[in-house]
């Protein structure tokens, strides 16, 4: 009888009654065929594979990560609470050791959701992984975490949330931003001055195949993780690198995803994008689950699989190699890069424009970070949207030093309600979230 080598947990939440719109790729049907495949394969019957009921995250879990405008209820639907709850459920089971690893097969996805949320971006409103990670840090005292994002789109939301956090290693491999939404994720994006090098981006050229993906995993991702020594490895498992995906241009396969999972050995996998709902998702998901459980997946071969046709060209192989070399070099020099970025300043400023494509909102941010020698620094974001919202978001990091803690609270005290629609303080030392309003 079939038996899993690892105890693997699954939360399956296809949200069969939730869609962005009737014909939107992020719609009810998205995980239907995956569900059919999972049920037909009898995965939940395999000894060692356990299905969990998804819990719902609460508002505190969300406020530990996001500044939501005008409030959490306005930016999240019920489905978002459950989807993030699915990731949380798996994470808890891993921490409580009732499973060795687990997969939250949930929708809607989350990796384009940034720290400040005015609406939906890239089909995402809140960041499932970040909500889960910050919950784990709060409830289980976890410190160092690595997130490996294998969605075809750059996970700019997760990158944004962990940009200044040296304890979270964020590595994204994705289709080159010059050819793909959201247009970011280049090797020179390495994280903020207090966390240089713990953000790594590996853009892959269109038509990268199994060889290129596994090369990046073996050459960059695994050695960097080895050196970083995280307590947990999270995989944001987008499945849109598949050769049948309608929104992207890659040549990755179900077997490739399974191989990648076997190599990466993630503790927690969270589903992100992937819109080839009939040709890819059923097979990729099965491949990932079997790989997590340590069951033979060699028979998971999707229709249309042809290794010759799906082989990447030599020039792609070259490009991938060069990119990986650059990323490795940056990683090796991260200390020096950080020092150069910090220079002798006391504060670092950053101005950005953020577009919420799903909801059509433009946001302008001015970010101020204290360049603290002792912690990752108090952070202040002045955010305005073209809908007229003006928000001041103050973040005191989890391991803030006393100076940064004081500074964050001073910023909050000093800000005048008359100048903003909302002033928020996310105090991770106290685990509180305060709001001042006119």
């Amino acid at each position: 009888m079939l038996k899993a080598l690892n105890k693997t947990g699954l939360v399956f939440f296809p949200a069969f009654d939730w869609a962005i719109s009737a014909t939107h790729p992020e719609r009810e049907e998205r995980l239907l065929y995956t569900q059919d495949q999972v049920l037909e394969e009898g995965l939940f019957d395999i000894e060692g594979i356990h299905e969990f009921k998804s819990e719902v995250v609460d508002i505190k879990d969300v406020q530990r990560v996001h500044f939501s405008y005008p409030d959490v209820w306005q930016v999240m639907t019920e489905s978002h609470f459950i989807s993030a709850g699915g990731a949380k459920t798996i994470a808890k089971a891993v921490m409580e050791k009732s499973i060795n690893n687990g997969f939250a097969l949930v929708r809607p996805p989350g990796h384009h959701a940034m720290r400040v949320v005015h609406g939906g971006r890239g089909f995402c409103n809140v960041n499932n992984e970040a909500i889960m990670i910050e919950y784990l840090r709060h409830a289980f005292g976890i410190d160092r975490v690595a997130v490996v994002d294998t969605d075809c789109h750059h996970g700019d939301g997760t990158q944004d949330i962990y940009w200044h956090d040296p304890d979270t290693l964020y590595i994204s491999m994705h289709q080159d931003g010059r050819t793909m939404y959201p247009g970011s994720g280049f090797p020179q994006e390495l994280g903020g001055p207090n966390a240089a090098g713990t953000t790594l981006n590996i853009p892959l050229p269109p038509y990268t195949g199994e060889e290129g993906f596994l090369y990046a995993i073996n050459e960059v991702v695994l050695p960097v993780i080895d050196e970083f020594k995280p307590e947990l490895v999270i995989n944001s498992a987008g499945q849109d690198n598949h050769f049948t995906d309608p929104l992207t241009n890659m040549l990755f396969t179900a077997k490739g995803y399974a191989d990648l999972t076997r190599l990466l050995k993630p503790d927690i996998v969270v589903l992100e994008g992937g819109y080839s709902i009939e040709g890819a998702l059923p097979y990729v998901n099965i491949g990932i689950i079997l790989a997590l459980a340590g069951i033979d997946y060699s028979h998971v071969i999707e229709p249309g699989y042809d290794p010759d046709k799906l082989k990447q060209t030599d020039s792609i192989t070259q490009t991938v190699k060069q990119t990986c070399d650059t990323v490795k070099a940056n990683w090796a020099q991260r200390e020096a890069i950080g020092q150069r970025m910090r220079g002798s300043q006391e504060y670092a400023e950053r101005r950005r424009n953020i577009f919420y494509d799903t909801d059509g909102i433009y946001e302008t941010q001015r970010e101020t970070l204290r360049l603290c020698p002792e912690c990752s620094g108090a952070l202040k974001i002045d955010s305005t949207s073209d809908r007229g919202a003006h928000l001041l978001a103050i973040h005191i990091p989890r391991k803030a030093c006393n100076n940064c803690w004081d500074l964050g609270r001073q910023w909050f005290e000093a800000a005048k309600p008359a100048d903003y629609d909302m002033i928020c303080l996310q105090d991770r030392i106290d685990d509180t979230y305060q709001i001042k309003q006119k």
Partner: protein, 564 residues
């Protein structure tokens, strides 16, 4: 009048129900080595001096096929299995005669790899040479499109006595379970067929020609003759018999916990407003996970005859049983002995029970009466703890839609129905130590046979509609019909209800007993290239387990006669 017969581990109960309620009951010892004979004797005794024309039908719950599986006495069956991508079908091998045939159907019912017909022929030759008579054929996703199963059946032709096709056995997904279920059907076919023939002949000889039904694990019945094609449906009907026996006496406005306290174990089930809860997927038997519909029941190894001992100064009850209680000639003290000592039950030899409990009392350093009470109390508490565990596990079952997840429906019974030998003695104490209201099932010594007699025919149907392809299909029923783009969810409900009614009548249901219920109702847009191309509808309907139309009058009579 209706005959209900339930084969139990030690004896077989047979009842005759009519307008006066329980008209007659007999008990015959169960001879596991000659179950046919046990059943025939039971039927003979119950029909003695009863005019043949007054009997309307008979329902049998037997352990014949169950025993064959549990004891590994399966007749050899061949399996031909085809599968597309996924876990390799070799992982689900059922035995020696198992052939994996290349060919694949995908989740949407499309052929993605042609069936290798040469290999089908080669496998058939080998099976024939091995003298195999019964063959199961299973394809992955055959519940969506049975094309490959049918092709294989066609090639096998009439070279074998009987061929079982996976898609006809269940419309539900679950390839490994479909493989197991089909294999079991093929393997127990001969024993079930022989049984059918023996019972039919015997009744015929007595001039009784009434419809005979068998009880299924889901608490419903099906015509004996129809069951020849689905012998697997006859397994594990025992737990269902007692649950159905309690249904007549369960309130229809609340949730009820049914506790059937036997000698070795206590079987538990949940009734929601008088309707038993079904298990997801299907029954597990002897390491075979199947697609055979069943009531959600759980058994804990704790009953009236469980062994009682003291381990490290602590009282331990069960899960083993060495035989009868000491008060009834057994060798080890049991909860039944505790009841005898406490004089809550009579009939056994209290002195012998006292002898059994004495050493336990000594070890615990308390009086014999105190020890007896401890044993009884702990037994009751452990049973309730087991029930709570089952309810928790039911409530932890995942749900797949936002609505269900937020509604968070939780099973939360507030009433207990107890049946089984010592039911009456337990009921009062359950009420004392919990917040449940507690009742016992009248005539609970034969409640299982009464439940068997009163159960209605159940069945289930799965309908898939793809308005883009313009097709409505129910592969399990060999049904396929073209539909237009405007075919709606309501149309699908109607079509499924019609199919369900036809199926039920074919299986032996009376029209007044057909009460349909939606089990699944999903509607999806089919989008290709950001354009809506049609709808994908999935409707599952069932006739839920319940009692036949006339049951109320009969059960009321039974309850009334008990009070007198």
């Amino acid at each position: 009048m209706i005959i209900g017969l339930d084969v139990g581990g030690t004896h077989t109960d047979v009842v005759l129900l009519g307008e006066n309620g329980l008209e007659k009951q007999v008990k015959v010892p169960t001879d596991t080595s000659a179950l046919f004979q046990t059943v025939l004797t039971g039927l003979e005794k119950i029909t003695e001096n009863v005019p043949a024309d007054e009997i309307t039908h008979a329902v049998l719950s037997t352990t014949l096929t169950t025993n064959a599986i549990v004891q590994g006495k399966l007749s050899p069956a061949g399996m031909l299995v085809s599968s597309g991508p996924g876990i390799h079908p070799e992982a689900f091998r059922t035995g020696e005669h198992y052939f994996v045939i290349p060919g694949g159907i995908d989740h949407s019912g499309r052929e993605i790899e042609k069936l290798d017909t040469d290999q089908v022929r080669a496998a058939a030759d080998q099976l024939e040479r091995a003298g195999i008579q019964h063959v199961g054929v299973v394809g992955k996703f055959s519940a969506r499109n049975p094309m490959h199963e049918r092709q294989i059946a066609e090639i096998l032709g009439d070279r074998f006595e009987r061929i079982f096709l996976g898609h006809q056995i269940s419309g539900n997904f679950g390839f490994p379970r479909r493989v197991n279920t089909t294999f079991l059907n093929a393997s127990i076919y001969p024993v079930h067929r022989n049984f059918f023939e023996a019972v039919s002949h015997s009744l015929e000889k007595k001039g009784i020609q009434v419809p005979i039904h068998i009880l299924k694990a889901d608490g419903g019945t099906m015509g004996f003759e129809s069951s020849i094609a689905f012998p697997g449906q006859s397994i594990l009907s025992g737990p269902a018999a007692s649950v159905m026996g309690s249904v007549a006496f369960a309130p229809d406005y609340t949730e009820t916990l049914v506790l059937d306290i036997g000698g070795t174990s206590t079987d538990m089930a949940v009734l929601i407003k008088g309707v038993p809860l079904l298990a997801p997927y299907g029954v597990d038997i002897n390491n075979y996970k199947t697609l055979i519909r069943a009531l959600k029941t759980q058994s804990i190894g704790l009953g009236g005859d469980s062994c009682v001992r003291v381990v490290d100064g602590e009282l331990k009850i069960g899960p083993d049983r060495t035989g009868k209680a000491m008060g009834y000639g057994g060798s080890d003290p049991t909860p039944t002995d505790a009841l005898l000592v406490l004089e809550r039950s009579v009939g056994g030899d209290r002195d012998r029970s006292l002898k059994g409990i004495e050493p336990i009392a000594a070890l615990l350093g308390i009086s014999v009466e105190e020890a007896a009470f401890e044993i009884f109390d702990k037994t009751c508490r452990k049973i309730l703890a087991g029930a709570r565990q089952m309810i928790e596990s039911i409530n932890s079952k995942p749900v797949y839609t936002v609505k269900e997840a937020l509604e968070g429906y939780q099973v939360n019974p507030d009433h207990i129905l107890v049946l089984g030998g010592p039911a009456a003695y337990f009921a009062e104490h359950f009420e004392n130590i919990s917040s449940y209201t507690v009742d016992t099932v009248p005539e609970c010594q034969v409640a299982n046979a009464i439940g068997t007699a009163l159960s209605r025919t159940t069945c289930e149907i799965t309908l898939f509609v793809d308005t883009q392809k313009g097709l409505a299909t129910a592969p399990e029923e060999s049904f396929s019909q073209t539909v237009d783009l405007h075919f709606s969810r309501i149309d699908a409900h109607r079509m499924a209800a019609d199919l369900l009614k036809q199926k039920a009548v074919k299986l032996g249901a009376k029209t007044q007993d057909i009460e349909t219920e939606l089990l699944e109702d999903l509607e999806f847009n089919i989008v290709r290239g950001f354009r809506m191309m049609g709808k994908n509808l999935r409707v599952k309907q069932q006739i839920k387990p319940g009692l036949i139309h006339d049951f109320k009058a009969i059960s009321k009579k039974i309850a009334d006669s008990c009070i007198q």
